[in-house]
């Protein structure tokens, strides 16, 4: 991907180039599994538009579930607290088919929860 010019390496980050974006937009239309993924990718990317990137990064990297998985070297299975996510989404009153509100509330919840525990 790097050699083909779809991503650029900048320090510790890989950044998608305009060529990479075009490639993704072209091919994602033709693969049915990608169309489904697009909804989730869109929600994830929109979250980083609505919440500052650094806050999102801190929320996810300091998530106790992720930290535990790292300690246990349990890369394939992160025990997300789905019950808590459902509870929050319900409390906020988000529509069942919307992903953005649960995603934003989850990041905010993690930020505050990590603050409390930290």
């Amino acid at each position: 991907m790097l050699l083909s010019g779809y991503f650029e390496e900048n320090g510790n980050f890989l950044t998608i180039t305009s060529r990479g974006t075009d490639e993704f937009n072209t091919f994602s239309k033709y693969f049915p599994t990608y169309i489904k993924r697009d909804t989730y990718i869109d929600a994830a990317c929109s979250t980083s538009i609505l919440i500052p990137y650094n806050d999102t990064k801190i929320a996810l990297l300091d998530d106790p579930a992720l930290k535990t998985s790292l300690i246990l070297k349990n890369d394939g299975w992160i025990s997300y607290n789905y019950e808590k996510l459902k509870e929050i989404t319900k409390a906020i009153g988000a529509p069942i088919d919307d992903l953005l509100i649960p995603a934003v509330s989850w990041i905010e919840y993690l930020l505050k929860n990590n603050d409390v525990k930290g």
């Binding site: 980050f13 950044t15 538009i49 609505l50 009153g93 509330s105």
Partner: protein
């Protein structure tokens, strides 16, 4: 039952509060579009330099006909600058160009913001930002060192420099910075330590900040090249960093060498001013801020003869001593694009 954190979520996040207030997903989608739009215009305008009012609004019913004689299609972002009293935008569906109004009178703006139906607007004024949804004000909580959470480039740099000070310089935890010392006890710097200091800062910033190009020894026709230049690829922002060190260095034969004191910081401020003036006249489209980073390695009673150990009293004598910048060099008080200097004290290893 939802716990107290959920309630806090809702009150602290403008996005969730907008949903809570309207209970309509349409407003959520519109908020997202407005934020995206705001982020885009902040690629060309730096909020901390903008003294007027910025409004981005959306009319969900598409009925508003606001000041038709002054409206223009907005297609050229290069017209954006901080020389307007007010800038108003109306977002439109993707197939239609957004609209822009420049320098509209305040009474007309107040009238627009009082609309009670199908209306959502982002407002920036006096270094504050908030939403107005159907005449209800919804604050955007900002815990950053910059006035808008949607243009956090200089906040990210500020945060990175503070992290560098605490976690890399204070205890010489940076591998590259370790090479700057002339002895094991961190009493003396080596001969000409500037190069490895620059390398250390360059590497740290490149790893820490997203979406930037870092260039060392950036040449811009000044008396000397700038030590480090940070350039954000996603926006027209740059930072020029002048790096100075204070303390005592050794010569290449390990005898006592050059010494720099507080005067050096004042010289650094003058250099920053020179760079910013040059940069502004050279590339007016790029917004540049100047930063002075002072690595403070001063120790007491080490100049007359070379010592191999230091007491805590002498080693930490300057730890709490702030830089004394002359009144005429305190440019950060008058120039929005010159920052207050960052002093980073590097601790020695003391004997007693």
């Amino acid at each position: 039952m939802a716990d107290i954190l959920v309630e806090k979520d809702r009150n602290d996040n403008y996005f969730l509060e907008i949903f809570s207030f309207t209970k309509e997903i349409q407003y959520v989608n519109e908020t997202r579009k407005i934020v995206e739009f705001v982020k885009n215009i902040y690629r060309y305008i730096e909020p901390s330099h903008f003294k007027g009012k910025i409004i981005v609004f959306s009319d969900l019913s598409d009925e508003i006909i606001f000041s038709p004689e002054q409206k223009e299609d907005f297609y050229d972002k290069s017209i954006l600058s901080d020389h307007y009293r007010t800038l108003i935008f109306q977002t439109k569906p993707p197939s239609t160009l957004p609209l822009i109004w420049k320098n509209i009178e305040n009474n007309k703006i107040d009238e627009l913001l009082e609309k009670e139906d199908n209306f959502i607007a982002y407002v920036y004024e006096d270094e504050q930002e908030y939403f107005i949804v159907n005449n209800q004000k919804i604050d955007i909580i900002n815990k950053f060192s910059c006035p808008s959470i949607f243009a956090s480039q200089y906040h990210d740099l500020d945060e990175a420099l503070l992290h560098y000070k605490k976690n890399r310089i204070k205890n010489t935890s940076c591998v590259l910075f370790k090479n700057c010392w002339g002895d094991d006890k961190r009493i003396y710097l080596k001969n000409k330590p500037e190069d490895c200091m620059q390398q250390s800062l360059e590497k740290f910033l490149a790893d820490r900040i997203r979406g930037v190009y870092i260039k060392r020894e950036y040449n811009m026709d000044a008396s000397k090249p700038v030590d480090v230049r940070v350039f954000w690829r996603e926006a027209n922002r740059a930072a020029l960093i002048e790096l100075k060190w204070l303390g005592q260095s050794l010569q290449s034969d390990s005898s006592i060498g050059t010494s720099y004191s507080n005067v050096r910081a004042n010289e650094g401020m003058s250099q920053i001013k020179e760079y910013i003036d040059l940069e502004n006249s050279d590339s007016s489209e790029i917004i540049t801020k100047g930063y002075l980073v002072v690595i403070d390695c001063r120790r007491k009673n080490i100049k007359s003869s070379k010592v191999s150990s230091i007491s805590r009293v002498n080693g930490f004598h300057y730890a709490g001593k702030e830089l004394e910048i002359n009144e005429d060099k305190m440019y950060w008080k008058t120039f929005p694009n010159i920052e207050k200097p960052y002093r980073m004290f590097a601790e020695p290893i003391c004997e007693v």
